[in-house]
Every structure is written in structure tokens, then in C-alpha cells.
């Protein structure tokens, strides 16, 4: 993978030109899109989405799926918020409780989907519903007044960057390193492409996706805790509602196939950025509410179109260097 941007790379990440075009369009029409405050705002708001989309993407690449993240987010937020508001919990204990809650949901999902082998779609749709009910039962009223220690989680600045952004970067880096640098990274793809072949090759076809369910649960709960800290309040009924769809959208728009076995983290990060910029830009421009919805819907369709065009463009981009080599019979090295 080279670091210079060549046409091949652009073709592989068709969201890049789209994001650039959107940025230019929004800047021209509002004059305030490119402001550092606005950009940092987008980054901060998108951070929680990124934190969950990244492990979710690994899960989808390995051929599974977690829809329960919206409720796990709420549960994580409620757990941390409850400890912070009712028991004066500090940063560490709050985050720990939240992570435990997320791990518990992840373990249930992972057990049912990876060990027993039930359908991830139905199981996690079930836990999505059930966990929301539990979170609401546990904290029917909004939780507030969290105290300074917990506020630090979402409000601190590290090297000039808001802490949610820093945490998101960490998650992306760790996941990226696992995917690119470790054998497990290859196993994730292998399981997604062919679970059977991976099993016969000695890959831990239960443990690996189980662990990804755990990671997704933990990250979803952490994201909920972060947002609770940022907002200073949690409401169990609405926190993270519809978040599962946003996550899945970012993952799929980012070029990860729902069938598993393909996708890149760069794509997922671009998918998150795409959604964040779209939301921000439409509000900046002041598009009327219902038209915003129409525009968001169309944007998804456009993104699907790009994902479709990408491999075709890539093939086109590949033709030129190939033409020179035509005399040799060696096939072009393909790009996975």
C-alpha cells in the first residue's frame, strides 16, 4: 500500500472525492464549514460513531453482525450515569461498570451467535429490544449531575483534541493494527470469506468472532458512557436510539460487504466522516427538516452507487499500467 494518492487509491475509496466535493460545496454555500471549530465539532460528534463502527466493521468482515449496539450504548450510558449521579462514582469506576455492562451484552450475543450458532440478525435484534427494556427498567427517569471526575471522560482535551476524538483515534489505531499486522487480522477475513475453510485451517472460528462481539459490546457501552459524560445527562429511553442503523450505515457505506470477508478500516472511517459531514452540512445550509431526510436518504443511495462503481473504476485505473505490459502473460496483481 503506497502513501501517495494515485487514481487506483481514489477508485478504491470512492468516498474520498465525494467527501471533498461535499466539503467544497458546503464551504461555498455557507462560508463556515471549514472553520476549525466546526470541523472539530464534526470530529467530536462523529467520535462515538467511529468508536462503535470500527469493531462492528470487524464483526461484519468476519461474517457476523451486531444490531444491539444502540441499546448497549444506552445501557453503558445508564450504568456509568447511574454510578456517577447516584453514588458519586469517579471516572474509573464509571467507565469500568459501563464496560462490564457492554461486555455482558457482547458475551450473550457472542455465545448465542458463535457458540450455539443462531442467526446474528435475529439474536441481536432480540437483544436490541430486550436490553433497551432493561436499561429503561433500571433507570426510568433521566440521570443527571455527574460530578467533575466523570465529566472528564468526554470533556478533557488531550494535545488540543477533545477526549472522544482521542479515544476514537485509539480504537481505530488498535483495530487497524490488529487487522493489518497480526495473524488474527487475516483470520477475521478468512472466517468471513469461508468459515468452513478457516475451520479446516485451524483458525479459531468461534473464539475470534466471539471476541469481536465482546469488543463491539464494550465499545458501544463506552461510547454511551462518553456521550453521557459529554451531555452531562442520560435518558434511557432515547440514548442511542437508532444508533445501530447509523453504525451499520457507516460500515456498509464505508465499503464493508454485509456478506463478510471484505472491507477496510480506512473505508469505515470515511463512512463515519461522510455521515458526520452530511448531517453537519445539511444543518449548516439550513435545509428544511423533511428535505434533510430526503437528502440523507438520497446520499445513501449515492453511496451505494459509488460502492458499486468503485471496483469498476479500479479496473479501469488498472488497465493503463497493464497496457504497457500486455506482451507478458502475467495477470495483473489484484487488489483485495
Amino acid at each position: 500500500m503506497s502513501t501517495t494518492v494515485n487514481p487506483r487509491q481514489l477508485a478504491r475509496y470512492p468516498l474520498i472525492p465525494v467527501i471533498v466535493a461535499m466539503a467544497i460545496g458546503f464551504e461555498l454555500s455557507t462560508g463556515s464549514f471549514m472553520g476549525s471549530q466546526n470541523l472539530l465539532g464534526i470530529a467530536t460528534d462523529s467520535a462515538t460513531l467511529a468508536i462503535v463502527a470500527v469493531p462492528s466493521a470487524l464483526l461484519v468482515i468476519s461474517g457476523y453482525l451486531d444490531l444491539s449496539v444502540g441499546s448497549t450504548y444506552a445501557l453503558g450510558a445508564v450504568a456509568a450515569g447511574w454510578l456517577a449521579s447516584e453514588h458519586g462514582g469517579g471516572l474509573l469506576t464509571c467507565v469500568l461498570l459501563s464496560l462490564l455492562a457492554g461486555l455482558a451484552v457482547g458475551a450473550v450475543n457472542g455465545f448465542l451467535c458463535c457458540v450455539v450458532g443462531l442467526s446474528p440478525f435475529i439474536v441481536t435484534l432480540g437483544t436490541l429490544t430486550a436490553v433497551r427494556g432493561l436499561a429503561q427498567q433500571f433507570a426510568p427517569l433521566p440521570l443527571t449531575s455527574f460530578g467533575d471526575s466523570f465529566a472528564w471522560l468526554g470533556g478533557a482535551k488531550v494535545a488540543g483534541l477533545p477526549s472522544p476524538v482521542v479515544i476514537a483515534l485509539l480504537v481505530v489505531l488498535v483495530a487497524g493494527a490488529i487487522l493489518a499486522l497480526t495473524p488474527v487480522g487475516r483470520h477475521i477475513y478468512a472466517i468471513g470469506v469461508s468459515r468452513e475453510a478457516a475451520y479446516l485451517s485451524g483458525v479459531r472460528v468461534r473464539t475470534v468472532p466471539f471476541t469481536l462481539f465482546l469488543a463491539t459490546g464494550a465499545c458501544a457501552a463506552l461510547a454511551g458512557a462518553i456521550k453521557a459524560s459529554v451531555l452531562g445527562a442520560v435518558q434511557s429511553g432515547t440514548a442511542g436510539s437508532g444508533f445501530e442503523l447509523a453504525v451499520l450505515t457507516a460500515v456498509l457505506v464505508g465499503g464493508v460487504a454485509l456478506t463478510g470477508g471484505s472491507g477496510t478500516l480506512v473505508g469505515v472511517v470515511l463512512g463515519v466522516a461522510f455521515l458526520g459531514i452530511l448531517q453537519n452540512g445539511l444543518t449548516l445550509v439550513g435545509v428544511p427538516t423533511f428535505w434533510q431526510q430526503v437528502a440523507q436518504g438520497l446520499a445513501l443511495v449515492v453511496a451505494a452507487g459509488l460502492a458499486y462503481l468503485a471496483p469498476r473504476l479500479e479496473a479501469l485505473a488498472a488497465v493503463r499500467p497493464q497496457a504497457a505490459r500486455r506482451t507478458t502473460s502475467e495477470p495483473t496483481p489484484a487488489t483485495t
Binding site: Y199, L200, G202, V203, R204, A318, P331, T332, T336
Partner: protein, 500 residues
């Protein structure tokens, strides 16, 4: 002239699969389409079937010339194709598959009775024993292949194209198929036959067209041609196989199987000594695949498996791998290959963990390992980053072999299920060489299953004949030849018939 293809071209991205191919087949002729793996045979056939549009060239059939065909046009024109990768729908029944897309109708509804009658006639004609209502996915490979052929014949074709129809068949079914082909020929069909098994070419074909790298290399009548001539047309003549290494009877067996049993299998006892190559020969369904899978822990089992004197207790692939066993599965597409992953990932997936340091992959070491492996197995192309699906069948098989015999993993017992299925003459030879070499040099014990008696004779030091999940005979040394193998299975076949 029933079918004439002129100047056909097709490229995939940068790969030029067909570069101006001409092919003419007369009515009443069996025409062998030959060539090495990746020569472009299947691509040509897919263009005939409408799987994609050719870039250039014409296809003339039934007096009409087409620049390209859709599947419906192709079927209408009277072309019937048996594709290399079956075009059957697993979850549908045998009848439904035979008439898929060409249902017999009555008042807009499926005319089930007429379909069943017609289907039964076709199956009987082919000597197929499967029931009309069986799910195709539940059928053994050979029966599937016969359903596929029945489907082609149900369309009253003018041209019948068979892409490696016998790769998964046993001698039994091959015989039936050959008889069918001959009777169709007599009825005036033009038949295009793709195969890597040269015996079939000799027995059936009138003419041959040999492709090399997407071009016609030779197109000639087969009259007076010897096997040597055919081989030379396809590839450079193979060198001799390295001699089999010595097997010492005094050595303790590397693999020892005692009382192995499972559904429909066993009890099976067998042993393989270090450096020994043992072939499991039998008809389709005789239980070779299941035996290998049980040894490897893919299926639950009873009985004991001992590798190098240590018993492998847990029946899981991981436990088997840890003990030094490795399996190259027979169903390459479903159980072996990661089609969209790179060649390097495919060949080195289990080795990456061994090569890694502090949990991180060492790409340099991986690249070197791949290069060594590509050289020793003559993988072509030797590009580590090409996705496995872009490789021809033979080269895919080499990648799978390379997964276990790369010198990185401690494989001491190699289990191979149909190791050269769909592999061209030359690559087959190379695979034999590789297997011989690791057996004699690394003293690896090899246990392989094959349906091709030629292959068993060429590769095995010793052959075990399987039937109904049991080992019913053993042949070794001078007694091991094709006739003896065929005799062994058919002997017991007729025994059974007499009994019942």
C-alpha cells in the same frame, strides 16, 4: 457445421483470457477442447453459454451469427452446457433443477406430471439412481453431475458442451457417460468435450482443439494421434517422476488408525509409515472423504488416531493440526480456498502465526516463504497479491498444497482428498512430484483419496480399496495396477449383486 466460433476475444481487467480463438464443430462430431489450466477453455464455454459478452468475435450457431449471447438466446439456439462449476441450485429438487428456466407448463402452472415423466426418462437413460425429489444439495457429486447432464439433454440441444464432466465421476459413471455421449453423437449432436483426462480423449474424440494462453495452439483430427502427441500439444512433455523414497517396514507407523467408525463408515484400520504414500481407491460414495475427514477431526468419530506414537484425542481440526496432521479437502471451492483473499494469505494462513514475532506478522518472512513455495510448486502466476479466484484450478490446488507443505508447519501426515481433480496434465505431474518429494525427503506420511486408477498407480506405494465405508482390499508393489484396482471394486460390486 453446427457451431463456429471466430476471432473470440475476452479479457478480465488486465487478463487476456481469450485472444482471438476459432473453433468449428460439425454435427455428429465429438470435439475435444484441451489445454493447460488457465488456457481459456472455460472462458470460451462461458461465452457460448451467455455468462458474459465477448469483447470481440462471432458465435455462429444454427445458421445465425451472434456477436454475443444471453443465456436465454444460447438455450434457444440449441446450445446446452454443462459448466465446470455446476450451475445447479442446491436447495431445489432434482426435477426442479432439470427444468429450471424451461419448465413444462399447463395453464401457466408447472405441469408436474409431465416433468416427472420426462425427468425419469432422462435419468434412466443416464443410469442415474437419484430420486426425483431429492434435494440436489444432498446428492453425492457424481449424481449431481448426472442431474446437470440430464438438465442439458432435456433441452433437445443441437450442440452439447461438457466442461470437465468427469472430474468428479468414478470409472463406473464415466463409463455410463461415455456411452451416452456416443449415442448422442450418433443422433447427430455436435459435442464439445473438455477434459484433462487423456484416456477419455482417446476413447471418445474425433478432433481436438488445443488452447494455450488464450490462443489456438493446435486444431487437428485425432486420427493416428498417440497420447504422446496429445500431451505435447497441451504442454511441454513432463519429465519423469522422482523415484519413490524407501519405506522401512521397521519404522513405527507415522499415522495409525484403529477401529475408526462413524455413520456409514468403518471400522477402518490402517497405518502409514514415514515417507510412505498410501492411496485410498474406491467408487464415489465409498467413504474415502468421510474417512479422511474423521481422521482429521472434521467429523465426529469413534476409534483411535495415533500420530507419531501419540494419540490425538480431541476430534477437531485444531487438535489434528497440532498433532502434525493436515488435510487438503476435496471440495476446493467450499472447504479449501479463500477465493477473495490473496494467494499469499491462502498459502500461508496457518503459517502466519508461526512466522509472527511478538504477535505481529513478519511480512518479509511471509513474502520469502511464499516465493520459496511458489518456486518449489511452480505456482503460476507467482504473484503473492493476486486474489486466489484469479488463479486457474491447478494453481489453486497448488496454493492449497502449499498451505501445509511450506516447511514452516510441522506437518508429518498429509491427507489429500482428490489432489488433482481438475488439474491439467502438466500440473498434475508437478503435484505428483511435490508429493513424492516431501514423502521421500521430509519423510512425511501421505494418505490420499482418488477416483482415478491412473493416479493411484502413478502416485501410491500402496493402495487400499474402499467400499461401503470399509477397506476391502490392499494392493502394493507389482500387484498395483489399473486393472487390479478396477477389478477389485467391480469384483466386489458383482459379489454384492449376487448376494442381494
Amino acid at each position: 457445421m453446427a457451431l463456429r466460433v471466430t476471432g473470440l476475444r475476452k479479457s478480465f481487467g488486465g487478463v487476456h483470457a481469450l485472444q482471438g480463438v476459432d473453433l468449428t464443430i460439425e454435427a455428429g462430431e465429438v470435439h475435444a477442447l484441451l489445454g493447460h489450466n488457465g488456457a481459456g477453455k472455460s472462458t470460451l464455454i462461458k461465452a457460448l453459454g451467455g455468462a458474459f459478452q465477448p469483447d470481440d468475435g462471432t458465435i455462429e450457431v444454427g445458421g445465425r451469427s451472434h456477436a454475443g449471447l444471453t443465456p436465454r438466446q444460447s438455450i434457444e439456439a440449441g446450445i446446452a452446457i454443462i459448466f465446470q462449476h455446476l450451475s445447479l441450485v442446491d436447495s431445489l429438487s432434482v426435477v426442479d433443477n432439470i427444468f429450471l428456466g424451461q419448465e413444462q407448463r399447463r395453464l401457466g402452472m408447472v405441469d408436474r406430471r409431465r416433468q416427472r415423466e420426462a425427468a425419469q426418462r432422462l435419468l434412466d437413460r443416464l443410469g442415474a439412481t437419484s430420486s426425483l425429489d431429492s434435494r440436489v444439495g444432498d446428492l453425492p457429486m457424481g449424481q449431481k453431475q448426472l442431474v446437470e447432464i440430464a438438465k442439458a439433454l432435456s433441452r433437445d440441444p443441437v450442440v452439447l458442451v461438457l466442461d470437465e464432466p468427469t472430474a468428479a465421476l468414478s470409472s463406473h459413471e464415466i463409463g455410463a457417460l461415455e456411452r451416452t455421449v456416443r449415442s448422442l453423437q450418433e443422433q447427430g449432436l455436435a459435442i464439445c468435450y473438455v477434459t484433462h483426462l487423456l484416456g477419455e480423449v482417446e476413447r471418445l474424440a474425433d478432433r481436438m482443439t488445443v488452447l494455450r494462453d488464450g490462443r489456438v495452439h493446435v486444431a487437428t483430427s485425432l486420427e493416428g494421434k498417440t497420447r504422446r502427441d496429445i500431451i505435447e500439444a497441451i504442454a511441454e512433455p513432463p519429465t519423469d517422476l522422482p523415484p519413490a523414497g524407501p519405506v522401512h517396514d521397521a519404522d513405527p507407523p507415522q499415522l495409525q488408525v484403529r477401529g475408526l467408525a462413524g455413520p456409514g463408515i468403518g471400522p477402518v484400520d490402517l497405518e502409514v509409515r514415514p515417507g510412505e504414500i498410501v492411496g485410498l481407491y474406491g467408487l464415489i460414495g465409498s467413504g474415502r472423504t468421510r474417512t479422511l475427514e474423521m481422521v482429521f477431526g472434521r467429523r465426529s468419530r469413534r476409534g483411535s488416531i495415533t500420530v507419531g506414537g501419540r494419540e490425538v484425542r480431541r476430534a477437531t481440526p485444531r487438535a489434528a493440526l497440532a498433532a502434525g496432521l493436515a488435510l487438503v479437502p476435496g471440495d476446493r471451492g467450499r472447504q479449501g480456498l479463500f477465493a477473495s483473499l490473496t494467494a499469499l494469505d491462502n498459502a500461508l494462513l496457518p503459517a502466519q502465526g508461526v512466522l509472527s514475532r511478538f504477535g505481529l506478522r513478519r511480512r518479509r518472512a511471509e513474502a520469502e516463504a511464499f516465493e520459496r513455495l511458489a518456486t518449489s510448486l511452480a505456482v503460476h502466476p507467482a504473484t503473492p497479491n493476486a486474489p486466489a479466484r484469479a488463479f486457474s484450478g491447478g494453481n489453486q490446488q497448488k496454493l492449497l498444497l502449499g498451505r501445509w507443505i511450506n516447511g514452516i508447519l510441522p506437518t508429518t501426515v498429509l491427507l489429500l482428498d482428490e489432489p488433482t481433480q481438475g488439474v491439467d496434465v502438466r500440473a498434475r505431474h508437478e503435484i505428483y512430484k511435490v508429493v513424492r518429494t516431501i514423502a521421500s525427503e521430509r519423510r512425511t506420511a501421505v494418505l490420499f483419496a482418488s477416483t482415478d486408477p491412473e493416479e493411484v498407480v502413478a502416485l501410491a506405494d500402496r493402495a487400499l480399496v474402499m467400499q461401503d465405508g470399509r477397506v476391502i482390499g490392499e494392493l502394493a508393489g507389482a500387484a498395483l495396477d489399473e486393472d487390479a484396482l478396477l477389478h477389485a471394486v467391480h469384483q466386489s460390486d458383482s459379489d454384492l449383486q449376487e448376494q442381494s
